[in-house]
Amino acid sequence: MTALAPTEPRKLGGRTLNVVRLQLINTQSFVWVPLIVLAGAVVISLVIISLIPGDDVKVVGAANAPLWYFAALGVQAMTLAFPFSQAMSITRREFYIGTLIMGAIGSAMMATIFIVLAGIEAVTDGFGMGGRIAYLPYLFEPGWVSAWLTYFAATMFLFVIGFWMATVWKRFGTLAVVSVGVALGLAVTAAIFVITKAGVWPEVITWFVNTGSFALTLGGLAVTAVLAVGAYATLRRATV
């Protein structure tokens, strides 16, 4: 008879990193689906570019498709993995931090792929056709590091939104998620309405140009951080 020894506490920090491994169980959705979406978007963009006549630079932003997929990934990271994480006796905090780390890894991966794609475009002069899929002038104005950060921030932003919405759904139900969605839609519409009524679209666009993509990226990261805090607050009392 050997009584079970109380567990030594040294392993506790590793539990958060193990959550990352737990999340990576769904490698199909995490690695392969975004890559396939990206490849598809690039191929379609190239076809469109080849069809546009003229020698000008042709900007086709379709490659952002896989970034949007990260919103769905954020949802899945919650709905598919949270119940199992609870069965593994993982605290909500460990689950949350591990999941964010995984989202950051995925976002860094996407950003890097986009920078590589932009590099190819820069070297080959847009695949010899002046095409711009990832190498968008506005983003690359402040430099390549800033552009990488922009892609990273956009992906992470969508991931956190998806994760938070799924957490709201787990905790408060479908009605709450729909209400939040409608509220956001109304806010955006109201903003567009106000800007149009006031006739200040040129000023707004000028502001975006003057502010520059780097400052906007930093702003986006700050918003993402706020959303992440909201997601954690919601998760703390969420049940399976």
Partner: protein, 303 residues
């Protein structure tokens, strides 16, 4: 008493129902508990709160002397096998076990492999394509091989055939003997687990109906069988839990036991004393307790 879990005045209210109504109990270290009660009695809710998967409306829960909520030190030492556990979409059983091995410090891979063989569990099929019985086997294997200091099994037998259930009971007892720990087993198949459990915790309508050792539980009631009139004379004035009659023969179950002198009289009168199986006792007790408030339910069932 060396309690690993202490529950005091625990209440859980959902919008329009009270799942747990101010219950208090202790769970002793290194003991197998039968956590019994009807569907909706509050068993799963109680186990969810003990493992911090759900939240109490009021009252307190202490596990190893601490609040389990967001407490990795405590959660680390517990394993809760849910009847309706969800697994990651693409996971197969092998992947689920590998995850469990990462998070449960006492995980025994050898035991896991042996159980996989015992239950003939396919490892490469994704979990969502497994049969109900195979799904239960995944949970049972995680619960046993994790060898957590406190393990909760919530109706772990769903879909398992009689052979597989016996394997579960046998392996549980074998491993428990070698590695004593605290196990809470919630089940409707009370007679099947009657020989397994050392203590009985019965919950009904969010309240504790019985909290005793399995032996004491069996001594709580007696059944007398024989001539109806004689039987009725013997049980007169006693707390009768159940009465059945066929012709002139009656079988009456009542709370408590007969004294030595009464036994002799019963023998002399040609009556027989029958043991009350645990399942019978719990069914009768539950019916008895709710009889007053539930007359209309019975009528509803008769219609």
């Amino acid at each position: 008493m060396d309690p690993v879990i202490q529950v005091r005045d625990l209440t859980k209210k959902y919008k329009d129902t009270t799942a747990l109504d101010g219950i208090s109990f202790d769970i002793e270290r290194n003991s197998i508990y039968g956590f019994l009660g009807r569907n909706g009695a509050g068993k799963t809710t109680a186990m969810s709160i003990l493992t911090a998967q759900n939240f109490a409306t009021s009252g307190s829960v202490k596990v190893f002397g601490e609040n389990p909520y967001e407490n990795a030190r405590v959660l680390n030492r517990m394993c809760f096998v849910r009847e309706s556990q969800k697994y990651p979409d693409e996971a197969n059983a092998r992947v689920a076990f590998r995850s469990a091995a990462m998070f449960f410090p006492n995980w025994d891979q050898q035991l896991c492999e042996q159980l996989i063989d015992d239950f003939q569990l396919p490892l490469k099929t994704t979990i969502k394509k497994l049969s109900r019985g195979q799904l239960s086997a995944v949970g049972v294997i995680i619960g046993l091989a994790s060898r957590a200091e406190i393990t909760f099994f919530d109706e772990p037998y769903l879909g398992l055939d009689a052979v597989a259930r016996q394997i579960f009971y046998d392996r549980l007892l074998e491993d428990y003997t070698e590695h004593p720990r605290t196990i809470l087993l919630s089940s409707h198949l009370i007679d099947e687990i009657a020989n397994l459990i050392e203590r009985v915790l019965v919950i009904d309508k969010g309240r504790i109906l019985m909290d005793s050792s399995a032996e004491e539980a069996r001594e709580q009631a007696t059944t007398v069988v024989g001539d109806a009139e004689t039987v009725d004379a013997v049980v007169a004035g006693r707390d009768v839990l159940h009465r059945e009659a066929l012709g002139r023969v009656a079988s009456v179950t009542f709370r408590g036991q007969l004294s030595g002198e009464e036994r002799e009289r019963v023998d002399a009168a040609g009556l027989e004393l029958a043991p009350v199986p645990l399942q019978q006792l719990i069914v009768r007790l539950t019916q008895h307790e709710s009889a007053a408030g539930a007359t209309y339910e019975t009528e509803g069932a008769l219609r």
